[in-house]
Symmetry: C2
Subunit: 483 residues, 2 copies
């Protein structure tokens, strides 16, 4: 016992020493400015006071696109095993039926609804992407907002301003710690998303700066998500739980539940524990005037974004030459080196694995001319024609090829060689999806889940979100009609 106790003493002392060392090191990684600025309160002030009038038209429009894309994804993923399992497990613990579930008939309390809608919206890997950080901004924020707006009525303008504020905060915190934070193993959407959700719901609750800071502090103690979960149901759990944790944080702080005033930047705080890099200026510079949300992008294809240039090339070649899979002798694909690292599953066995397979993504696009959600099901991955085409694809990497580019050459049995180079893939920063393409994507996602008239009504509500008298209408319209 004495030996154990001494070891206890040794370790406690070691912890202390290492602790000081660790914080010193963490701050060594900071920009020269010492001590760090009061980041938690700077963010809290912005979240509590940023006037809707200051949001530029371009950002208002991007927020509308972000909402429409996210709602489509939430509807499209709503019947997948992950949200279905979550509803089955948690329904016995749900409170009053305060909020709807997109694409489903059940209603749950607002906290549980945020979790389930967040899972549905990410399970297809089809949601929006902030390319600088690989954060999927809408998931945690919109999941919390749509559920809460059904519980406590709010105007569309307040709702959308909260969406802008929430996305801005999660992306800026992400910029401050990316890429080191991501490299440590964290799934950045869930670790920064909890702040976005807390700020967005805190804004709807009209929290003052002090309570908003407590909400951000409570959020700091609840990061969600590890990259080791990619390929399992838990990946889509991350944005959902981040939404739920953020809402919980705002609700607790509203009644006076206290947290650290320096939870993000302080010694033994979020920044120190979750990243070796902390460039706080990424959070403060241009806050309220320059918008990260303006850089949001939307996936035309339901898989890892680095495969999109190859899919774009494959669909263009197929359509231009009326390609038939049986005519293909070989396919030569040149891509950015990152592609094989992130999408290197050469012989996927399931739809989920297919989302991380450059060969499946290219093959299914060549064979079917499409790469939406149906192209990444177990059936699609096992389709003999797709499997055959996959076997004919040779992938080479080339550092000269950018992440949004691809070079595809198809050699036919008759000897013809068809070639397409994609300079900026559709959906990339420099070739964004048009509003019409986003509407088509929404239709495709809602098809078979919501009746056409209901889907059209839901799309209209998203497009009119800034002027809705009651933003709760979005969640209510997204629910599936009881059979």
């Amino acid at each position: 016992m004495a030996a154990i106790d001494r070891r206890g003493l040794f370790r406690a002392t070691a912890a202390l020493t290492t602790g000081l060392a660790a914080s010193a090191e963490a701050h060594a990684a900071d920009p020269p400015r010492q001590p760090p600025p009061p980041i938690t309160h700077i963010i809290a002030r912005y979240a509590a006071t940023a006037p809707v009038a200051q949001v530029p038209d371009a950002v208002r429009h991007q927020a509308t696109r972000t909402l429409l894309n996210w709602v489509g994804c939430a509807v499209g993923g709503s019947r997948q095993p992950a949200p279905t399992h979550a509803v089955a497990a948690l329904r016995p613990f749900s409170g009053p039926k305060q909020a709807s579930l997109f694409g489903r008939t059940e209603r749950l309390d607002a906290l549980h609804a945020a979790l389930v809608n967040g899972i549905s919206s990410h399970v297809l890997d089809f949601d929006d992407t902030h390319l600088k950080t690989i954060i999927h901004p809408a998931g945690p924020v919109a999941s919390a907002l749509t559920a809460f707006a059904e519980y406590r009525p709010v105007s569309g303008e307040e709702f959308m301003n909260a969406l802008v504020i929430g996305c801005e905060i999660e992306c800026r915190i992400g910029n401050a710690v990316y890429p080191e934070h991501y490299a440590m193993g964290w799934h950045i959407t869930g670790t920064t998303g909890v702040f976005g959700a807390a700020a967005a719901i805190g804004r709807l609750l009209h929290l003052d700066e002090q309570r908003m800071a407590w909400a951000l502090g409570l959020a700091a103690s609840q990061p969600v998500g590890l990259k080791v979960q990619f390929g399992t149901d838990t990946k889509s759990f991350h944005p959902g739980r981040a939404a739920q944790n953020g809402m919980l944080s705002a609700l607790l702080s509203e009644v006076g539940y206290t947290a650290s005033a320096v939870a993000i930047e302080g010694v033994d705080g979020w920044g120190q524990a979750l990243s070796t890099r902390h460039d706080w200026s990424q959070i403060t510079d241009g806050l309220g005037s320059r918008y990260e949300l303006a850089l949001n992008t939307y996936k035309p294809f339901a898989c890892g974004i680095v495969a999109h240039p190859a899919i774009d090339a494959a669909i263009q070649l197929r359509d231009a030459h009326a390609l038939h899979p049986a005519d293909i002798r070989s396919v030569a694909l040149r891509v950015n080196p990152l592609v094989l690292n992130l999408m290197g599953k050469m012989a996927p066995q399931t739809g989920l694995e297919g989302k991380f397979s450059i060969t499946h993504a290219t093959a299914v696009a060549l064979v079917t001319g499409r790469a939406g959600a149906p192209a990444f099901t177990d059936a699609a991955v096992r389709d003999p024609a797709v499997v055959a085409a996959r076997g004919r694809i040779a992938v080479a990497t080339d550092a000269a090829i950018q992440k949004d580019q691809a070079d595809l050459t198809v050699t036919l049995l008759d000897g013809r060689r068809l070639h397409r180079f994609i300079r900026h893939a559709v959906g990339s920063q420099d070739n964004p999806m048009t509003d019409a393409q986003l509407a088509d994507k929404f239709d495709g996602l809602a098809d078979g889940i919501l009746p056409p008239d209901r889907a059209r009504h839901l799309m209209q509500l998203c497009q009119d979100a800034w002027t809705l008298p009651d933003a709760g209408a979005i969640g209510r319209a997204g629910a599936a009609v009881v059979a």
Copy 2:
């Protein structure tokens, strides 16, 4: 836009490179054995299959003491602002009234009850301590078990076996990453506690090894707690939320919600993200035969444990010499260097600050002869006699004095010098609280919150826990009677 996109590309590549570097570094900190053992499944197998019969009598007895001490703390803290605020904020979202709240009249769904009871049990900083890691083992595990046992009936033997398994897992994971994990800023009770709660509830659900591994995987994505929160309501939120997250993880995995099979030890997993040290042998060696729970300790005083030797000395001197505060000229206290680092608040203004003040702890013990919860209220900290005594205390540190030791000399106005050296403070590993002292502590905590007969009944249920036909009786008996 193009510039931003290029920055995006650069960062993504950097993330990847750093990622590989980071994991390499993380594993460099591992013991030579490469690759790491399948820790997640090793723990899952133990949690799913460890027979109750293998628990030694000494561990069974320690588990009973752990439960009794924890229940007393949960009752004693139940009227504090933190749990009161949590109930006010979350009651509108609670599901069916499945579980009781210790010391309170409200009933909530089992998930919310686990959160609130966890907050109540930690808010007084009076709960149990695993000295090797400074983990408070009971909080996350017992909060989840007592609430869940009211929802789904379970025998006392199954309940206590799950308590042993849960505490064992969180302490062993803590041993594998302590002290580096703690030094990074993590509040280790909340980051390891979620595994203990998931395993304990998973055991009650009879999860097989596969589903238990998914539960641990879901838990890995939900660590709770940062040390920056110490001194705020969010510190006590940590064990409560860890309990709730663990229960949620087990409930989801029960219905088939999947997670990584290597969530703890894998690349981009919990170990890599949350600690630079991973001594996996601390988890596997003697698992099921040597018990960390056997090393659990209980606080006789309601403040930071390193102040306990000084308090012990002060109470002994006061009682032995019938000391009166007015007779004291000066007090010379010599303590381990760690004490001033952890309890260095020399002029505390609130009860919470008093819990981290060596001078207040010593002064209140000299003046009142007690150091329970009432000694660390705002009123006690501002008591003129205590403030006066505080001002006469000079604290010196001495590395030769161990963490469970203190050297106290009181000089009286009449010139007499009274001295006491504490070799092993009461409650330390080598001078543990007796069962009788634990019973007295329980009475003191329940006093004024539960009627005496009800408190006696609750204590009896805890002492008989291993043989109860229905462990749900503990939570039900802990509820306050409606006024």
